[in-house]
């Protein structure tokens, strides 16, 4: 056995110490655990940062606000405890005593090892720029690297109070930092030393296309600029370039590459060149007990800064230390990467320019659309490639590049799908060892094995294999591969058909049970149908269903309401609320405006805003002020917060417009006065238009009435112009406003009774089909329109203006922001 870890694990476990708790260290430990390592090793990990292990690749999402930092953890602290791993966080390792086989940390911790893994990764490289550091050697105030959660938090906090931000470095990370800063409202400048952006992955032409796209987003790019000094005494005030030019800025992010963290290894006498030199087993050259993986490892002269090589290295390391496969060897990685820079999809592999007289270049460029494709072929094999804009061929090309496989003679087919075979055929043909998820190195085979082991949902496979859990770009492909292996027996989670997850019934079954048992309150439904266990998320859904069924007989329990419906206002990100008074059809009067303005001033309302629904929004109001403001306004609630009828917009119509064909303002007012306060499965936004010019956008509302002349109105349903955009379907054309009111009521009631919770009309109409809706609502094919009319009438009668609760609160401390205890 020599000094290899012993295998009589049950007797004495070996001590595995890992320096570094980043993506490499944690991944290597996961691989060890996956090979039964928990029985073989007592594991101790040291991390500089005071956190669990997180996905560093996602920091740019955190910076741009797409994800919260809490969402990027791969292994939260519980994971270490669950796997009996001793984790020392915030505890940088200061030395390795190889003779005594002890690791020492700054905090005074000593850990003995039998096997040591160095996974110290790398840090941001800060170029030698005058004045970039303060007297203590730290980065000057307002200057950041972009490498850790702490960097990210610092950048975000500073960006909030900065006007102009500069980023040094026009590589991938620099551009992502620039994108993130843009989201924080800064004017952003990228300063890049090279003549084109992302020069490691792109050629001049590709860089120029990317540059134009960045500039179109509002980022100023300075190419061929070398920064000489940081200006300013305390906080940064600007940059001076070698050509004498300057740029004023009040913050700076440096993203000029990375440097491996090698100091500890160097002090321990290990062979270090650009990084710590390892053999094909990821073992350092000087000590058989010490392994190295990740960005601090140098293998055959290469130091990698991408994740894919790291995953392969971690596997080889784990195979060796667990004796699982002593033939495992790392042979280096070919650099191919697929990424998204500021919304621009990009794939890059190998060289960016021809390097040999034999090299054949195939390219296509459509700069107007940001599409650029370039392949470099040598002896019929791919040695380099750039895909921008359209990367549909990336999977195929990256595989051909990785395997050095022969390309077809027809080169055009390399760039474009010409008469593509169907996806199914493609999946049939996909070789088993092809990677589906490049971030986590999950192959088609691995997904197949996972499905065969009984995991029959995409989510279960993703949880088990981590496929799709890196950058996330392959999620839909993972789903397709899972479905392909499951061969049609892809399990559907049956709960997706339930009206609420905690009661195993579809909406019709639930309605029948509720009617039969006479359940008139949400708590009684939980008691009768959910074993008495109340589920927070299901409460509003049940409340909506019950109020539609029982109208005035519904027993309202305030705790079943979302906060908006408890205080009749829309909660904002800071816990304040917004007040929107009713304003039918967007019509107001000077007196009402004066009253609104007076109230806004009296209560120091921080923001007064016109809404998309033609009303006035008073935003940033504390709960305690709500009832006082309503009383002072003396106007009814606009119901701009609930799952209910919201509002009806209108244009000027025949009243003043020279094109008007119908009285859109009058009709909007009638609609609002009738349906205000009526609950529904999701919000209902309506509009009336006085002519087909559609100025009030009635054709893209949940329900819209458009005057077409001769007192006729077209009724559109299922329109949307929010996150989803859909032109409504014409339900029917009717004579006169009364008919509009009647059809609107019938459609609304049918929707209220049959839609799923939170299902907007644009989904509902597509699901049910406009023909079916027309048959039921217009032609009365089911003989239910009288029942629909009666049910709607009950709801209209039961509706009330909730702002009157201002005078008579319905629950204790309904509008209190804070209860102060005696003596507090």
């Amino acid at each position: 056995m020599g000094d290899r870890p012993v295998e009589n694990a049950a007797m004495t476990r070996q001590r595995l110490v890992v320096i570094g708790n980043g993506m490499a260290g944690a991944r290597a430990v996961e691989e060890v655990l996956a090979r039964g390592g928990a029985d073989m090793f007592e594991i101790t990990m040291f991390g500089d940062e005071p956190y669990g292990n997180y996905n560093r690749i996602m920091l740019s999402n955190v910076l741009s606000g797409v994800q919260d930092s809490s969402e990027i953890y791969i292994n939260p602290l519980d994971w270490y405890a669950d796997n009996a791993i001793t984790l020392h966080t915030g505890s940088p390792v200061t030395g390795i005593d190889r003779a005594a086989r002890v690791v020492m940390s700054a905090a005074g911790v000593k850990a003995h090892y039998d096997v040591l893994l160095i996974a110290t990764g790398s840090r941001a490289f800060i170029p030698p720029i005058d004045n970039i550091r303060d007297a203590t050697g730290e980065l000057r105030e307002g200057v950041f690297g972009f490498r850790s959660i702490d960097d990210c938090n610092g950048i975000m906090q500073t960006a909030r109070r900065s006007k102009v931000a500069a980023v040094i470095g026009g590589g991938l990370l620099g551009l992502e930092a620039a994108r993130g800063l843009l989201n924080h409202g800064c004017e952003v400048h990228v300063v890049h030393q090279s003549k084109h952006l992302m020069n490691a992955q792109l050629d001049t032409h590709g860089g120029a296309i990317l540059c134009r796209q960045m500039e179109a987003m509002g980022i100023t790019i300075h190419l061929g600029k070398s920064t000489e000094a940081v200006l300013g005494d305390g906080r940064i005030a600007g940059l001076r370039f070698k050509d004498g030019g300057t740029l004023a800025c009040d913050m700076l992010v440096v993203s000029a590459g990375i440097r491996p963290n090698i100091e500890v290894a160097q002090r321990a006498g290990l062979t270090v060149e650009r990084a710590i030199v390892v053999d094909n087993h990821m073992r350092c050259l000087d000590d058989r007990r010490i392994f190295v993986v990740g960005e601090c490892a140098q293998h055959r002269g290469m130091v990698y800064g991408l994740v894919a090589p790291l995953w392969d290295q971690a596997k080889v390391f784990a195979d060796h230390v667990t004796d699982r496969n002593l033939d495992a060897a790392y042979h280096g990685s070919k650099l191919a990467t697929k990424l998204k820079v500021m919304g621009v999809e990009l794939a890059s592999m190998g060289i960016t320019e021809p390097a040999d007289a034999r090299d054949e270049v195939i390219q296509f460029s459509e700069p107007g659309r940001g599409t650029y494709k370039k392949l470099i072929v040598r002896d019929g094999r791919l040695v380099g490639g750039i895909l921008m804009g359209d990367i549909s061929k990336a999977a195929y090309l990256m595989q051909a590049f990785d395997r050095d496989s022969a390309l077809p003679d027809e080169r055009l087919g390399l760039l474009f799908d010409l008469g593509t075979p169907s996806q199914k055929v493609t999946l049939d043909e996909m070789p088993g060892d092809q990677q589906v998820c490049n971030c986590n190195g999950v192959t088609k085979e691995a997904i197949g094995a996972c499905v065969k082991s009984g995991r029959n949902t995409t989510k279960a496979v993703m949880d088990a294999t981590r496929a799709g859990m890196g950058c996330g770009s392959c999620k839909s492909l993972v789903g397709e591969v899972v479905a392909w292996f499951a061969g049609g027996v892809l399990e559907e989670d049956p709960s997706i058909h339930y009206y609420v997850p905690c009661i195993p019934m579809t909406k019709p079954d639930l309605v029948a049970a509720v009617r039969e048992q006479g359940l008139r309150s949400v708590s009684s439904v939980f008691a009768a149908l959910a074993g008495g266990i109340e589920d927070a998320a299901s409460k509003p859904a049940l409340a909506s269903l019950l109020v539609t069924l029982w109208a005035g007989e519904y027993q309202d329990e305030r705790d079943a309401r979302f906060i908006n419906d408890r205080v009749h206002a829309n909660i904002q990100k800071d816990g304040t609320f917004s007040v929107i008074p009713e304003m039918p059809g967007g019509i107001t009067t000077p007196d009402d405006l004066i009253r609104i303005a007076t109230v806004a001033k009296k209560y120091n309302v921080p923001l007064v805003k016109l809404t998309g629904g033609q009303r006035i929004d008073l935003v940033g109001v504390s709960k305690e002020d709500l009832p006082k403001m309503w009383a002072d306004l003396g106007m009814p609630s606009g119901h701009a917060y609930g799952k209910s009828y919201r509002t009806c917009k209108s244009c000027i119509g025949t009243e003043f417009c020279r094109f008007g064909l119908g009285d859109s303002m009058g009709l909007a007012t009638k609609i609002e006065k009738r349906f205000r306060g009526v609950d529904s499965p999701a919000k209902l936004k309506l509009a009336t238009a006085g002519c087909p010019r559609n100025c009030s956008e009635a054709m893209v509302k949940d329900i819209g009435a458009v005057a077409v002349g001769n007192d006729k109105w077209e009724i559109y349903v299922g329109g949307a112009a929010g996150a989803h955009i859909r032109k409504g379907d014409v339900l029917c054309t009717v004579d006169g406003e009364d008919a509009v009111m009647q059809i609107t009521a019938r459609f609304m009631q049918y929707y209220r009774e049959n839609a799923k919770w939170k299902e907007r009309t644009y989904t509902f109409v597509e699901r049910v089909g406009i023909e079916r809706l027309r048959a039921v609502v217009v032609d009365d094919s089911d003989g239910i329109v009288e029942a629909l009319d009666a049910a709607m009438q009950r709801s209209v009668d039961a509706a009330y203006d909730p702002w009157r609760e201002a005078v008579h609160p319905r629950t204790a401390n309904q509008f209190s922001d804070l209860l102060v205890a005696d003596g507090a």
């Binding site: 953890y73 906060i563 408890r566 401390n813 205890a821 507090a824």
Partner: protein, 104 residues
């Protein structure tokens, strides 16, 4: 051990709801579900949403901003990696809600 302090009365908190309370020099969210009373830190660790305004389940609270849900007994996240601090409460025979000071 210091005596428990009275932070509210059952009648201050409607059934199934929460309220923000100031006691012992700090803010805490107090909930009264159909299974009992519970106290937690006031803000959601995700984006600082006001937990007292959240919907409650039998033993859970769901933040009103982004639906992060926590177990009121342990503070453990139900659909999130985050967790929250909880404080033990008792209710005396008069319906006063008492906070154990040793933990506060």
């Amino acid at each position: 051990m210091p005596a428990p302090i009275r932070i509210a009365h059952l009648s201050d908190i409607p059934e199934g709801e929460g309220r923000l309370v100031e006691a012992a020099g700090m803010h805490i969210a107090v909930f009264r579900t159909r299974a009992g009373v519970f106290a937690t830190q006031p803000d959601c660790p995700h984006r600082q949403g006001p937990l007292a305004d959240g919907l409650t389940g039998t033993h859970t609270v769901m933040c009103p901003l982004h639906d992060r849900t926590y177990d009121l007994r342990t503070g453990a996240g139900v659909n999130t990696e985050c967790s929250i601090t909880t404080y033990p409460l008792t209710v005396d025979q008069d319906g006063a809600i008492l906070l154990e000071m040793a933990t506060a």
